[in-house]
Assembly symmetry: D2
Homo-oligomer: 216 residues x 4
């Protein structure tokens, strides 16, 4: 698969390029704020940079009929409209979080929210002591998936990339669903799944859970 | 709901009777090897006793048009046929395991087996040191749900009622789904869910996961 | 060992009597608010009742030259003086908590508090949803043992008898010390250790950690 | 502190040099199989290379009156004698494992082995799926610390740097002591503690637990 990478000098770029290369995908276009450097026409454009890059990214997708995998956060309403428009022409995968496991956990909680309705729930999340927001955005997303607010406990110590545990209990049983990030490279793995999905999908607007569901 | 209990003197009986009473269900028939004692017609018959009791249990269900909730293990092929026959007349819920949480965990693993196909899996189960079988039947059932064999580790110490953990990992993430039994009364809770389901279900053959799915 | 039990009709009594019997210890005196019933002279008196019983308990110990194992909470200063006085004559073991494992964990944290001084610490404790105090008294005792205050997270769900986890991290490692109560009978086991210790100890004032240290 | 590093091009070297620099320690001598490059006289020599380097390392320590921190594994009996001889002149810290937390855990198990004698024990260790030895050397060291063999379960999945859990249970309680490696740089941190200890210690032969005990 030939792909373009917007913001290739950032941390995501540093993780995506070797991972995609190990899977035989070819980087044919590099884009940053100074312009683009193209060796060929990309089948998929990946953009994990900033909202300000979106207009140029959408233009490239339109010109090249490339699919888009977008992980930019902080998009405006008009950005959303621009993406919807693009998705009538090519596949667009948008998600604020390309973590594979955490999205699987969210899907499970959402699918089983009614069955788990009678269970008490509490979330514990553990991160490095530099993390300022509490509870984590991921903890809030897990509550959204579960369909209810519940107590969340934020542990901040050491240098942990991030653990999330959802505890569920009735009077006789305790279930705990835990996700642990081992390497921060997990997002590049999600980008890879999304790009491989987008390369062969029909035009349309998808989120990352659609990508995961396609594995079924 | 009026119910009958086969094998009411056993441990399951000791747990079912007060739990059902707390929910307003009335025990109208008690059955053991010496015969039956009836105060009324049961809507649901519960049998958590032995295969040898099944013929009598099925006869009662037929005579009373009662639904059946059956937890007996070690049934023969002809027992199965007998149950299938009964299920054309009344609802029959059969499961070798009425644990609520462990069945939810099995359903999740089964539903997500394709999505989790690329993840390494190992199971750890911890039980009291008197338990002789290893891995536990529940660990094997979790593998069945996941659709593959995987290493299982059996810890035998102290007096734990039973923990099961399914570890799933890719190179960047670890997910652990853990179920802990706190009180052995958990099976009576499952029997309650099954009986309440059976009391209003159409005739047919169901397992316990059908009962849980009806909560959706 | 011949022993007396003050408050033998309470929950502790219900757990102590069969456990002590299984170890061959003989209950020779039963004491409650209505008086005492004696079949012999106790070597050890156990009192897990109320402060109001203490005067009578101390009198019995003095009359019989019996050792005392005392778990009563809420003692006054003059109660303390009375115990100190008694301890010049017989062994007195006093502790507000006879949990074996949790005392071992406290001893470890205390012994290693300087070595662990550079590690971040947080405590998570999980109890049934009827527990009103948070953090638990045990969590506070663990902080005392560690020699510093640290964040404590109180999870209240289901029917858990009680889990306590102390998380310790530096930038490269995480250590977690977890104690899980499986059966609430754990305190009777601690009382047994204390009584067997007291039966052969020199006169003096001991706490439960002295009892555990004697196992070394 | 001025220090020498033997085998500075290896992985340990890559971790030690920036960590020591961040603490203000100055690398004044670099040694590899091609010889040494010296800018000054080291107060401490660190050697995490191979047994074949030891003779040269000991010679440097003798010439410079430098303390030695040695992490080489696979030493011979005559190597041991050479180190004992050196330790009459300068401080020598030798350990096959400079992991801080795992040594603390070993010390705890050793200190409490008698108190924990009546508890069932099992060890679970989880590592990446490339690890070939099972149980891990660290699991065996934990058993040594505990003073008895116990079942060990080796989970091999994903890319985990290494978790070790020691489960201890009696009939009423479960204690679990878990160590998780987050970053493989943990050994450099141990080397730092050892070097800072050695810089001011009396001549003698020490292990890494002596270093940790000096923090008390």
């Amino acid at each position: 698969m030939r792909y373009a990478l917007v913001g290739y000098t950032g941390r995501m770029g540093a993780e995506i390029i070797p991972l995609f290369e190990s899977r035989g995908h070819e980087l044919v276009m590099k884009v940053d704020e100074n312009g683009e450097e193209a060796l060929g026409t990309p089948r998929v454009v990946l953009d994990f940079s900033r909202p300000s890059a979106l207009a140029s990214t959408v233009r490239i997708c339109r010109e090249c009929s490339s699919a888009l995998v977008l992980g930019t956060t902080g998009l405006s309403t008009s950005d959303g409209e621009s993406l919807r428009g693009l998705s009538s022409l090519v596949p667009v995968v948008y998600s604020p979080n390309f973590g594979v496991g955490i999205n699987i956990l969210s899907m499970i909680l959402s699918d089983y929210s009614e069955i788990l309705a009678g269970w008490d729930a509490e979330i514990v999340e553990t991160h490095h002591d530099k993390k300022v927001d509490a509870p984590s955005g991921t903890a809030l997303a897990l509550m959204d998936a579960l369909g209810r607010r519940c107590p969340a406990h934020s542990i901040r110590l050491g240098n942990l990339p991030g653990d999330h545990s959802v505890h569920l209990a009735n009077s006789d049983e305790l279930m705990t669903f835990t996700h642990r990030t081992i390497n921060r490279g997990v997002l590049a793995r999600g980008a890879l799944l999304a790009a491989e999905f987008a390369a062969s999908a029909d035009s349309g607007y998808y989120n990352f859970q659609d990508v995961l569901r396609s594995l079924k």
